[in-house]
């Protein structure tokens, strides 16, 4: 038996002390060597890059701060300094205009309320962990637009008696559809024959009046033709009959349909009331709006109006009905094929021609119609992407359950599809937000428009005014767009439910 310890001179009993990693692979130096100077070519690139960044960065700092003028009352302060940089007093003097345009000074609290309420509602909507999303969405899509409309314009609209009668007539007509929805078309028609006949008679009278003029009588201070009264009276009778029928039924679906109708009517009447009631707000013409306010109004109205339109167009494009599909395809491709600027020109010049005589839109509303239709076409393509991503099995399962087309879409397909396309919708919103600047070409003063207009103010016209103004406008746009794009990326990550491969 040999002694191991004697045949080997020395046996290690402990681990050797760990050596530090090679100095050029750790710490700042290692990082630099790996990421910036790993090859000679990369070293050259790095040096060029550093020089470039230093050049640009120093240029901006020098222009904005070192050579910048920070105080003064008029252009003289910025002109007096030879070779001066940014003219900041100009921004300070004009900043309120950049935000509110020419909105009357003592009424600006109204704009502020709209901004603040909108920001809070949007923030609570955007943070996924907060509750009451449905109510919040309802607020943002119905209550908030109404509120901003009344606050910004002053409300107090004047509807003519015939317009009001028309709306009442439509509401009454919709009462006739309630039994059809509740019992299906066949049974609904059978149960409600008399009411439908009355409605038919009303329609007939209306058609006749298109060709024969009727005597008019004085009603509440405005003249209404006898035939209109007859139509409304007939519709009223028909609606009451069908509603009484409905209310007397013990059927659950009849009850819920009735409740839905009453709710919708109340909502329409409430909207009308809010728009017509005089809240004592001074009326502010849209010509006086401007700056960030107009940018926001155009962008938000565009997106809110384009979402439902876009969904309908996307559904239409995937519809099995050739007429509907053809219309959707043509509509979408035409709007997507032309530049926004021609759409804006068209809506500002040709829209008044399309409307009956005497109907007049103001410039802002015309621009809004143009942008809404334009972005609806883009929205339709975004939503279509989401619809295509829903597996066919979902449609088939819904059909197997006996759901109708609209139920399939509203309960099964759209909730999934819209969830997928949230990032896409945010991206369309970003591009719409940037595109609002185009309204300056048709003579509206959005943020960029008002900045550009302020260059012409002789009080502040200095060589550096333009650069400073553009710098501020760019910064404002950038903050909004960058924030939204980050949000879109965040939602994309959140919504990715693990089916996607991550990394290479």
């Amino acid at each position: 038996m040999t002694d191991l310890s004697s045949s080997h001179a020395w046996v290690r009993t402990k681990d050797a002390e760990r050596l530090p990693p090679p100095p050029n692979t750790t710490g700042v130096v290692g990082w630099l060597l790996q990421n910036l100077f790993n090859t000679p070519l990369n070293s050259v690139f790095t040096i060029i890059g550093v020089a470039f960044i230093a050049w640009i960065g120093w240029g901006i700092i020098e222009w904005a701060i070192i050579r910048g003028v920070f105080s003064g009352e008029s252009r003289d302060a910025c002109v007096a300094v030879p070779d001066s940089g940014a003219c900041w007093p100009y921004v300070a003097a004009k900043f309120h205009q950049f935000v509110y345009g020419f909105y009357p000074f003592d009424q600006r609290w109204r704009v502020n309320i709209c901004f603040i309420v909108g920001a809070i509602a949007l923030a609570t909507m955007a943070i996924p962990s907060l509750p009451y999303k449905k109510w919040n969405a309802l607020f943002l899509l119905v209550v908030y637009p109404l509120m901003t409309f009344v606050l910004l314009t002053g409300g107090n609209l004047d509807f003519s008696t015939s317009t009001l009668l028309g709306i009442v007539g439509l509401l009454l007509l919709s009462a006739l559809i309630v039994p059809l929805l509740a019992f299906g078309i066949e049974e609904g028609v059978q149960r409600n024959r008399t009411a439908l006949l009355l409605a038919g008679a009303a329609l007939l009278i209306w058609l006749v009046t298109l060709f024969i003029s009727m005597p008019e009588i004085n009603l509440l201070g405005s003249f209404v033709s006898v035939s209109t009264l007859a139509v409304v009276a007939l519709l009223l009778a028909a609606a009451i009959m069908s509603l009484v029928h409905e209310a007397s039924s013990r059927d659950v679906s009849a009850r819920s349909a009735l409740l839905g109708w009453v709710g919708a009517c109340c909502a329409v009447i409430a909207v009308l009331l809010v728009m017509t009631v005089d809240f004592g707000l001074v009326a502010v013409e849209t010509q006086q709006w401007g700056g960030l306010l107009v940018t926001m109004v155009v962008a938000i109205t565009g997106i809110v109006a384009s979402l439902p339109l876009g969904i309908l167009l996307a559904l239409g494009r995937r519809s099995k009905m050739p007429v509907v599909r053809l219309f959707s395809v043509v509509f979408i491709e035409v709007w997507r094929g032309v530049p926004l600027i021609t759409v804006l020109f068209m809506s500002s010049i040709m829209l008044p021609l399309f409307l009956p005589e005497g109907v007049n839109f103001d410039k802002l509303l015309r621009a809004l119609v143009g942008t809404a239709l334009f972005s609806a076409a883009y929205m339709a393509e975004t939503v279509r992407g989401g619809l295509q991503a829903i597996p066919k099995g979902q449609y088939e399962a819904a059909q197997a359950l006996g759901l109708s087309y609209w139920r399939t879409m509203s309960l099964i397909v759209l909730p999934q599809a819209l969830k997928i396309v949230i990032p896409g919708i945010v991206n369309s919103f970003i591009s719409l937000f940037k595109d609002t600047t185009l309204v300056l070409i048709i003579g509206l003063f959005d943020l960029l428009g008002i900045v550009k207009a302020s260059f012409a103010d002789p009080k502040w016209a200095a060589p550096q005014t333009a650069s400073t103004g553009f710098f501020v406008a760019a910064l404002m746009f950038w903050v909004f767009c960058f924030g939204m794009s980050r949000y879109s990326i965040y939602m994309e990550r959140r919504l990715a439910t693990g089916h996607k491969r991550r990394g290479i």
Binding site: N35, L36, N38, N42, F45, T46, G49, V50, F52, I53, G184, I185, E186, V189, K320, M321, P322, V323, V324, F327, V334, R336, G337, V338, P339, L340, I341, T342, F345, M346, I349, M350, P352, L353, F354, L355, P356, E357, I430, K434, D435, T437, L438, L440, I441, L448, K452, F455, P463, A466, S467, F470, A473, A474, F477, W478, C481, F482, S485, I504
Partner: protein
Amino acid sequence: MTAVIDEARPQRVSFFNDPKVRSRAAQIVFALLLLWVGYEIYHNTSANLAKLGKNVDFNFLGNTAGFDIIQRPIEYSRESSYLTAILVGFLNTLIIAILGVICATILGFVIGVMRLSSNWLLAKMAAGYVEIIRNIPLLLQILFWYTAVLKPLPGPKESLSFLGVAFLNNRGFIIPKPIWGDGAGFVGIAFIIGCIAAIAVSRWARQRQERTGEQFHSFWAGLGLIIGLPIVAFLLAGAPVTFEYPELKGFNFAGGTTILPELIALLLALSIYTASFIAEIVRAGIMAVSHGQSEAAHALGLRAQPTLRLVVIPQALRVIIPPLTSQYLNLTKNSSLAVAIAYPDLVAMGGVVMNQSGRAVEIVVIWMIVYLALSLFTSAFMNWYNARVRLVER
């Protein structure tokens, strides 16, 4: 027995519940609605136009325009017709679109590849470029370049000089104008021959490779043919070109070719803006080729360069091309923002004609048709290309 037969027979679908009937009824109602809206629009428009004492016809296009255009690719003067003016505008749109597409593609590919660079600084710089540029409205960028950069440049007397042959001032960028002498046509012919020869060589090389497996550097040979042949022809013809150099005479430059500041501003803004989108497309396209493809190519013994050329790029292009085409289309449509800085493009010229003749409907129709035709043409091309490079699936 009868009960069984009754059950087997398909139940009569009620008239109201028959899907076919419903679908047809819905379509008829929809079509009627559309017709009604169309009729209303037509009726109102003609009534409104009649009230203004106008009608829609395109004969006014033959009238004398009577205004000058600062950039004229074709013969145009004050005596030319409105139609010529609009045609000039259309050609100017094409000029800016083509130049913009070229510049934006080059810049976009460079930035896109930079974003994937192993150099941390380059990648971050590219990311910063993309994030800054694409979040600032294009119109703002155009106005910035025009109003804040090019307009404040010094006048002709204090021009920035480039080697004494090209000058930059607030009236534009003035470069020497080449004047082709006799025999210059040979250079063009040589160029065309070079192109044809290059195509022929690459075909021959591919056929030979398929037959024998031997490779041939058809790219370099082709490049040599396309560039070399015209140079040889140029030298053989005795260098038949002279340059007319711009010279300061009085208050302005005489001679040379002036590139308008409007064109420069528009080109800069359009290509810088669009490049930020193209960069993202390029990056996404390269990222879309899975790493396994490169690994497989390496396993087959391909080196880095052929892997890139034969495996990665063809697959990346399949992802890149469709969104790239739509960016080209966007650039073309965005070039209509030229109207903001009075570059005489289709929209700007149409606007001038509209103001002079009061023919709003006709001009809007012309705009729509031209842009629609451009985009339909592009998407037709894109569909053809997509069909060509589509993955052949079993």
